[in-house]
C-alpha cells in the first residue's frame, strides 16, 4: 500500500515538471503522426523505406551541426529530400530496395564523415541515435506542433487517393491517379513523421512509433477507420506509459515503449494464430 502511495506521489511530482510535460506533449504528437503514417507504411509495404529514412536523418543531424542548423532542421532537410527521391524513383517503393539501400549507405557514410569533422557533436550523437525524450524544449514543441499539423493536413488532402493507390495500384492508375506523385507526397510526409519520432525515441528506434502501433492494429482490425483509431490509441498509450514508467523506475522511456510494444505484439500474434476463426 505504501509503495503505491509513494509511486503516486512520485508521479504527481514528476507531472509538475516542465520537462516531463514537454516529453508527454512531444511524445503524444509523434505517436499520433507515427501511428497514422505507419498505417500506410504497412499497407504499402514500405517498412524498409521508413527504416532507411530514419537512418538517413542521422547524416542530416550531423551535417546540421556543421552548417549551424539545428539537428531537427538538418534531419528534415535530408529526410524529406531523400524521401522525395525515393518516391520518384519507384511507384512501388519496396521494389526499389537497391536505390534505398544505396541512399541509406551513402548517408551513413556522410554521417560518419561529419562526426569525424566535428567531434564535439559526439555527445549529441548519442541523443540523436537513442532519443532524448526529456530533453525536448518548449521551442522544439512549437516546431513539432507545426510540423505535425502540416503533415496531418497533407494527409487529409490526399489520403483517400493514397489508400486506393496503396491497396489497388493498377486500378488506381487506370482511374488516372499518378502513382509516382502520390508516392512522393507520401514519402515526404513519412520523412517528417520519422524525423519527429526520432526526436523522442531516437533514430535507431523509430520503428517503435512508426511501425509497431500500426502493424499491431492492422493484424487485428478489418476496417480502415477502426485500424487507424486503434493504431493511434496504442501509440499514445505506449508513449505515456513508457514516460511515466521512466519517471518511476529510472529506466529509459525508450526501453519501456519498445518493451510494451513487443509484449503486445506477442500477445496479438498468439491471439490471431490460435483464437481467431481460421475456418473458411
Amino acid at each position: 500500500m505504501t509503495m503505491i502511495t509513494t509511486m503516486t506521489n512520485t508521479l504527481t511530482n514528476y507531472l509538475g515538471y516542465e520537462f516531463v510535460q514537454n516529453a508527454l506533449m512531444a511524445g503524444t504528437l509523434s505517436a499520433i503522426l507515427g501511428a497514422i503514417v505507419g498505417y500506410f507504411v504497412i499497407i504499402r509495404n514500405a517498412g524498409f523505406a521508413a527504416h532507411a529514412l530514419s537512418h538517413i536523418g542521422f547524416a542530416g543531424a550531423a551535417g546540421a551541426a556543421i552548417l549551424g542548423l539545428s539537428s531537427l532542421e538538418g534531419m528534415l532537410l535530408l529526410t524529406v529530400g531523400s524521401g522525395l527521391f525515393m518516391g520518384a524513383a519507384g511507384d512501388k517503393v519496396h521494389r526499389n530496395d537497391l536505390a534505398i539501400g544505396m541512399v541509406l549507405s551513402m548517408s551513413l557514410g556522410l554521417g560518419t564523415l561529419f562526426l569525424s569533422l566535428y567531434s564535439s557533436f559526439a555527445g549529441q550523437a548519442k541523443a540523436i541515435l537513442f532519443g532524448n525524450i526529456f530533453g525536448v524544449s518548449g521551442g522544439q514543441i512549437g516546431e513539432m506542433v507545426i510540423l505535425s499539423l502540416l503533415s496531418l493536413a497533407a494527409l487529409a488532402i490526399f489520403s483517400r487517393r493514397l489508400l486506393f493507390a496503396s491497396t489497388q495500384p493498377r486500378l488506381a492508375e487506370a482511374r488516372g491517379l499518378s502513382l509516382p506523385g502520390l508516392s512522393m507526397a507520401f514519402m515526404a510526409v513519412l520523412a517528417v513523421s520519422v524525423t519527429l519520432a526520432s526526436q523522442i525515441v531516437g533514430i535507431l528506434l523509430v520503428f517503435t512509433l512508426v511501425i509497431a502501433p500500426a502493424g499491431i492494429a492492422l493484424r487485428l482490425c478489418r476496417s480502415f477507420w477502426r485500424g487507424i483509431s486503434i493504431s493511434v490509441a496504442l501509440g499514445v498509450a505506449a508513449v505515456w506509459i513508457g514516460i511515466l514508467l521512466d519517471c518511476i523506475t529510472g529506466y529509459p522511456a525508450t526501453f519501456w515503449i519498445t518493451a510494451l510494444f513487443f509484449i503486445l505484439y506477442i500477445l496479438v500474434e498468439v491471439y490471431v494464430r490460435f483464437f481467431t476463426r481460421s475456418d473458411h
Binding site: 487517393r161 493507390a165 489497388q168 487506370a174 487485428l220 480502415f224 485500424g227
Partner: protein
C-alpha cells in the same frame, strides 16, 4: 450507335519493342468478347491501351467515342493477379470501400451512399456473405469475386477483365463466368474477357478476339478459330481440333498452345 471500342491501325510498343502492330477491331456496345492468345501475344498490353495507361505508338483506340483516359470512369477494370495483403486483417469489404470513389481528394470516408454501392456490387458477385472476412484468408475464387465486385463500382458501361480465371479450379471458373454473365444481363455492359482457354467461355461469348504473332483477328468463333485463320495469324501451321463442343489449338510440332491453362497459375504475359 457509337461502338463500345474502336481500335484502328493500332501499334503498341514496350521499351521500344513492338508488341502489336496494325490491329483493327470494332466492338459494339453490349457484346461479350473473349480475348485469347498465347503468352506474350500482347493481351495485357492491349488491355493497358484500352484503359488508357499505355499510349499507342501509332493508330488509335476510342472507348465509347472518347480517348481511353477520358473514358476511365466508364470502364470497370479487373487487373491480373491481386495485391498481397497476407500480413493484414483488412477485410474484402474494406478493399472495395477504398476503391469506391478512391480517385477523390480528401480523407477515405465512406458515405452512406458509397456503402450502399459497395453492398450492391458485393451482392451482384455473390460475395457479401464473406466480405467481412480478412482478404488474406479468402480462397482464390472468393478473392476474384471481390475483385470483380470492385470492377462494378460506378456502373461501368464496359468491363475489362484481365485473366480473371487464372489460378481458379474449374468449379470456381464456372462460378465467376456465371457472375459475369449475370452482370451482362443486368447492366447490358460490354464485356472484354481475357482468358487463356476459350472452352469455359463457349456458352457466354458473342465473338472472339484472337491475338498472336503481333496481330489480332476479331470474329465469330467458327470463323476465327479455324486452322486456316490461326495459321495465317501465327505465321506457321496451326491446327484447330474440335472435340464435342470443345476447341483445342495445337501447333504443328505438337506443342499445345492452349490447354496448358490448367496449371497456369502465376500468369504474367511477359509484356
Amino acid at each position: 450507335m457509337t461502338p463500345a471500342l474502336q481500335i484502328s491501325d493500332l501499334t503498341l510498343s514496350l521499351g521500344g519493342h513492338e508488341i502489336l502492330s496494325g490491329v483493327n477491331a470494332t466492338i459494339e456496345a453490349g457484346e461479350f468478347i473473349g480475348i485469347f492468345g498465347p503468352n506474350g501475344a500482347g493481351k495485357t498490353t492491349l488491355v493497358r491501351a484500352i484503359i488508357g495507361t499505355l499510349p499507342p505508338t501509332r493508330g488509335r483506340v476510342e472507348v465509347l467515342g472518347q480517348a481511353p483516359g477520358k473514358a476511365a470512369r466508364q470502364i470497370g477494370y479487373m487487373p491480373q493477379g491481386h495485391a498481397g495483403f497476407d500480413s493484414t486483417a483488412l477485410s474484402a469489404r474494406a478493399l472495395v470501400e477504398a476503391a469506391c470513389h478512391g480517385d477523390r481528394w480528401g480523407i477515405p470516408w465512406t458515405s452512406r451512399k458509397s456503402k450502399e454501392e459497395v453492398d450492391r456490387v458485393l451482392e451482384v458477385t455473390d460475395a457479401s456473405h464473406y466480405a467481412g472476412r480478412p482478404f488474406s484468408v479468402l480462397s482464390g475464387g472468393e478473392r476474384q469475386r471481390v475483385m470483380l465486385a470492385q470492377a462494378l463500382l460506378g456502373e461501368p458501361k464496359i468491363l475489362v477483365l484481365d485473366e480473371p480465371l487464372a489460378s481458379l479450379d474449374p468449379k470456381n471458373q464456372a462460378l465467376l463466368i456465371e457472375c459475369v454473365a449475370r452482370v451482362k444481363r443486368l447492366t447490358h455492359a460490354t464485356i472484354l474477357f481475357v482468358a487463356h482457354d476459350m472452352n469455359p467461355l463457349m456458352q457466354v461469348m458473342d465473338r472472339v478476339l484472337y491475338m498472336a504473332g503481333g496481330g489480332a483477328v476479331l470474329g465469330k468463333l467458327d470463323d476465327v478459330v479455324t486452322s486456316a485463320s490461326l495459321s495465317r495469324l501465327y505465321g506457321f501451321e496451326i491446327e484447330v481440333v474440335r472435340v464435342e463442343n470443345r476447341v483445342f489449338v495445337i501447333s504443328a510440332e505438337g506443342n499445345v498452345a492452349e490447354s496448358e491453362c490448367a496449371h497456369h497459375d502465376h500468369d504474367h504475359d511477359h509484356d
